[in-house]
């Protein structure tokens, strides 16, 4: 599955498009990460725990989007966009969406 956030897949032409596909996941942090983040809020610096958590979650969202695209017979997803939203205190939704297409 080819993923691209541009209008077309560079070097290929789009023959058909199938519509919007999306993948999302909602992840909560656990208390351990929260406590470490609390410390970091005092001294500053990268919240490695959260970064990893969100990276994992984003990857899962992308995987789900690819699954949807595969189910319609696409071989590429173009114009991919990401979105992170705070759903409730301590949980975030990772969301990826794009247009499933068949390229040649």
């Amino acid at each position: 599955m080819i993923l691209s956030n541009t209008e077309t897949v560079p070097g290929r032409t789009i023959r058909e498009f199938f519509g919007v596909v999306s993948g999302s996941t909602v992840r909560a942090k656990h208390i351990g990460r929260d406590i470490m983040a609390g410390f970091k809020n005092i001294v500053g610096g990268e919240l490695k725990g959260y970064t990893e958590l969100l990276q994992e979650a984003r990857q899962e969202a992308v995987d789900r989007m690819i699954q949807q695209a595969q189910s319609v017979g696409a071989n590429a997803i173009v114009n991919v966009r990401f979105s992170t939203s705070n759903i409730t205190q301590g949980a975030a939704e990772l969301f990826a969406y794009g247009t499933a297409v068949r390229v040649e």
Partner: protein
């Protein structure tokens, strides 16, 4: 003995709420999912895409901005489970179904309003999710809003 009675009186309503909202909530959700699937099948011939440019070969007569949105709230059971999940971390399944429903509903409403206005397709689709916070509890969520918008096209027959 009376200590346990007092405890039961405090916990009893919570348990009753949990059980009843579980059943009511899952019934409502199942019905919504069935409805969504039916509407998606019915409207599958209406193209939507996140593409920013008009697909080649299409002749556009008119265009307009269309949108659809939906706010869905959690039931008590889901909120309880999500609260526990926040202690241990991981995927919050109850919120995932919530967002899936809200997103599909928003997209369908966008499609349906575009169709009702006489458009033939929507391109440049964007989605946005936001938390609608409750005023009563700090950090509490009244619900989640998903907004879908895009440019709808009226096509000239080729």
């Amino acid at each position: 003995m009376e200590g346990w009675l007092a405890f039961a009186l405090q916990v009893g309503p919570v348990v009753v709420l949990l059980v009843s909202t579980y059943f009511i909530g899952s019934a409502v959700e199942a019905r919504h999912f069935r409805g969504l699937r039916m509407r998606e099948l019915r409207s599958r011939n209406f193209p939507i895409a996140t593409l920013r440019e008009v697909p080649e070969g299409w002749k556009v007569e008119e265009c307009g901005l269309v949108s659809g949105s939906c706010v869905i709230s959690l039931d008590y059971f889901k909120r309880f489970v999500a609260g526990l999940r926040l202690l241990f971390g991981g995927r919050i399944a109850s919120y995932e179904t919530l967002l899936d429903r809200a997103r599909r509903e928003a997209l369908l409403r966008m499609k349906e309003s575009a169709h009702a206005a006489g458009y033939r397709a929507v391109i440049g689709v964007r989605l946005e999710t936001s938390q609608i916070a409750a005023a009563t509890r700090q950090g509490g969520t009244a619900g989640v809003e998903v907004l879908a918008w895009g440019t709808a096209l009226k096509l000239r027959a080729p």
